[in-house]
């Protein structure tokens, strides 16, 4: 049986990510990039999916952690007679460090060291390329175990005595290591020859050192010194791990089809970039001091939307192309029977009007930090604004990507308002020339009136999920974040109160909307962070905001990772992992709390100074 979702750690190199179980098994790896075909997918089918396992031969105690300030994972196996550490990483190095030697195209590195006594370890290398559809025939040759698939070469280089078994489908070994002994495993993927064959021996530790230095130098740029510093830095590292440096894109998660309801069919592919995440992600990068990453992400947004403007798709792949059509993979049994396993995402074809507001807000945030809006960008923003003016009254599929009939969602109206509000702001600051500012202004005002009149439900005492409706939706917690109302306003306080009453799942958790409970979904992690932000920004006390964040941090796994959802009954993680949106939510909630702390300290100091003077 595959491990629980929260039992997985993640390693990555900014191109792709691998999931490592507590027992030392890599059960998920897509190559060459996040949305590529899986080489190991035991996560979605322990029988057929394939894995690369380095696990103790007998049950033992397991602990693990990331090497401080890195995405290098260390798992410790403690048995009675000995103990060993397994270090897992997808090597990455700065361009200056990389320049001195040939680097493989794609590589995974695992190093096993016996640190005490003697320990027996079982190794099983069981690649199953193309989501377990390719024929596998491993061959042992002079430089390692080879698997050739058309023009692709997978090569496992190791100093462990692996034996090919199961008719060439797997390679295994039982290792007896004594204190001080170590074995290493390089798994190389090459499409170009000659392939680079990484050396064994001391070079392995050198490579681990290079990767550690890369992550530490990156996190050293983090300017955040507020509350929850360690959790924020871990979230920043997760966000960087899910960023694709060649384009600047950030994928929503590293996996596909981890279920929102175990055994159910709410299984989606999240290995793409959602435009919706733009504003939140840009704010997180900017406020943490990562201007380059924020600019790269906005550049990706600009580049990506070039072909379809002014119409925006909901999501794109890391290269800025619409993802492949959604299809099912019947050969995989699904995570604990949660079928179907899907690749591609049909939400790409939905109409979700909120994405315009998200993209424009992201650009506006960056412009406040001095990002220049060239003529082409200005023209594009104006095009988006005109599109919003022409289409905001249409029903859509909502940010939650409902697959039923389109409806008039309050959140979509709010983000249409945000789009026009930010464009007017940019125009008024002289950053956006030659745009129909008066039209934007009048449509913005119409939107405001409509949201206030039709979005507010007197019966619910809250903003409703759909116009003229009475059920609530956690996304309306964002009304304050976007500046539609002051968070201290009577309406927003009442709104938050009603959401907590109706969507509360206990212990700080929130469902995203009322139907979630009946559908058997988990609680949505980011919704609780939205509430925490609402409280931190003035909708509640500082202590309430802290309590909310404290409770949420109790749902991370031992490595500080969030999935998309949390099962309110078992506290187990649900959905794809690690989820950028959840980690962005945590960062932004902490940032808001830091601002509140700072403001309250300043007020206290000012009051004290006044008292001294008096």
């Amino acid at each position: 049986v595959v491990d629980e979702i929260q039992s997985y750690g993640v390693i990555g190199d900014g191109r792709t990510a691998a999931l490592v179980s507590r027992s030392g098994s890599i059960d998920w790896l897509c190559w060459p990039q996040f949305d590529g075909p899986a080489l190991f997918a035991a996560l979605l089918d322990p029988e057929r999916g394939g894995r690369f396992s380095i696990s103790p031969a007998r049950p033992c105690r397991t602990t693990r952690n990331y090497v401080d300030d890195t995405n290098v994972l260390v798992t410790r196996f403690e048995a009675g007679e000995g103990s060993a550490t397994l270090t897992d990483l997808l090597p990455i190095a700065s361009s200056t460090e990389d320049a001195g030697h040939a680097a493989p195209e794609h590589v995974l590195l695992r190093q096993l060291v016996c640190v005490r006594g003697m320990i027996e370890i079982d190794v099983r290398f069981e690649p199953r390329p193309r989501f377990a559809t390719a024929r596998v025939k491993l061959r042992a040759k002079e430089h390692g175990i080879r698997l050739e698939l058309g023009s692709k070469l997978y090569l496992l280089r190791t100093d462990a005595p692996l034996v090919i078994v199961d008719g060439g489908c797997a390679a295994t070994a039982r290792l007896k290591l004594r204190s001080g002994e170590s074995v290493s495993f390089w798994l190389v993927r090459a499409v170009e020859a000659p392939a680079v064959l990484p050396p064994l021996g001391d070079a392995v530790s050198d490579e681990i050192g290079r990767t550690i230095r890369y992550w530490r130098s990156w996190i050293a740029r983090c300017a955040y010194e507020g509350p929850y510093r360690e959790a924020v830095r871990r979230s920043a590292l997760v966000l960087k791990l899910l960023s694709f440096p060649p384009s600047g894109a950030v994928v929503a998660a590293a996996t596909t089809s981890l279920p929102e309801r175990v055994g159910g069919d709410l299984n989606w592919d999240y290995r793409f970039c959602w435009l919706r995440d733009a504003a939140f992600t840009v704010r997180a990068f900017l406020e943490l001091g990562y201007l380059d990453e924020a600019e790269a992400f906005v550049d990706w947004l600009m580049h990506t939307t070039r072909l379809t403007r002014p119409r925006l798709h909901v999501l794109y792949d890391v290269f800025g192309r619409p993802p492949h059509h959604e299809r099912e993979l019947p050969q995989l049994a699904g995570y604990r029977g949660s079928r179907p396993v899907r690749v591609g995402n049909a939400a790409a074809e939905q109409l979700q009007l909120d994405v315009y507001g998200e993209v424009i807000d992201a650009v506006a945030q960056l412009a406040r930090h001095g990002y220049p809006l060239d003529r082409d960008t200005q023209r594009m923003l104006c095009g988006f604004g005109r599109y919003v003016c022409d289409h905001w009254s249409q029903p859509d599929n909502s940010l939650w990507e409902f697959r039923g009939p389109a409806r008039e969602y309050t959140h979509a109206r709010l983000l249409s308002w945000v789009a026009l509000e930010r464009l007017v702001e940019l125009h008024d600051r002289g950053l956006l020339k030659r745009c129909p500012a008066e039209r934007f202004r009048s449509e913005r005002d119409r939107l405001r009136r409509e949201i206030q009149r039709r979005g507010w439900s007197g019966k619910a005492g809250a903003y409703a999920q759909v116009l003229d409706g009475d059920t609530v939706d956690a996304s309306t917690l964002l009304l304050g974040w976007y500046g539609f109302h002051d968070v201290r306003s009577r309406r927003l306080r009442a709104n938050a109160r009603t959401i907590r009453e109706r969507l509360g799942a206990g212990d700080g958790l929130l469902y995203r909307y009322e139907q979630s409970r009946a559908d058997g979904e988990g609680a949505f992690a980011i919704c609780s962070f939205w509430l925490a932000e609402h409280l931190a920004r003035g909708g509640g006390t500082r202590e309430e905001a802290r309590d909310c964040i404290d409770q949420m941090l109790g749902y991370t796994n031992d490595l500080g990772l969030f999935a998309e959802e949390i099962d309110p009954k078992s506290s187990a993680a649900l959905g794809n992992v690690p989820q950028a949106y959840s980690h962005v939510g945590l960062i932004n909630a902490a940032l808001s709390l830091a601002v509140r702390d700072r403001d309250e300290r300043r007020s206290a100091t000012a009051r004290a100074e006044v008292e001294v003077r008096l």
């Binding site: 680097a103 002079e142 170009e192 392939a195 990484p198």
Partner: protein, 157 residues
């Protein structure tokens, strides 16, 4: 040898040869990347190696085309099929004699029977370049055959 024709058709044939080999790599028939193979003699950096290797391959193609043209003059004929035959011989030479000696010449290529070291990490080609994919010999032969055919068809004695 007509220098102008040599420069022109030698260049054209080398470009076609390089393009065809790159195309077979792109289509998944072989992994061999000749510019990277050559350029990695000069630098370990993949991006730069490909640029240097492209220029080296262009120079080598021009140089080898002289041998083709000398053969045409010697035989007093230049036809596409004669060029193709010379090209196949050339390709066979590359596969049978050239590639196996490469680990001895290439400063970054691992020895086929020795270990991989920090400074010698590139995969050796093996017999007929088969380590770079089972279709490698076919790709190399077809590309060199076409190289010779172009020279034979376009060069005028």
């Amino acid at each position: 040898v007509n220098i102008g024709q040599w420069l022109l058709w030698g260049f054209a044939a080398t470009i076609v040869l390089t393009t065809l080999l790159a195309g077979t790599q792109g289509l998944g028939l072989t992994r061999i990347n000749v510019p990277y193979l050559l350029g990695s003699m000069l630098t370990p950096r993949r991006d730069r190696a490909k640029i240097y290797g492209f220029l080296m391959h262009l120079g080598l193609g021009w140089m080898f085309s002289l041998v083709y043209l000398a053969t045409f003059h010697q035989l007093q004929r230049a036809t596409w099929w004669l060029g193709a035959v010379i090209g196949l011989l050339h390709g066979s030479f590359v596969l049978i004699a050239g590639l196996p000696t490469l680990p001895g010449l290439h400063p970054r290529m691992a020895n086929p029977h020795g270990g991989v070291t920090l400074h010698r990490q590139l995969e050796p080609p093996g017999f007929l370049g088969l380590n770079y994919g089972v279709q490698t010999p076919v790709s190399v032969l077809v590309a060199h055959g076409l190289f010779g055919a172009i020279l034979g068809a376009l060069y005028r004695i």
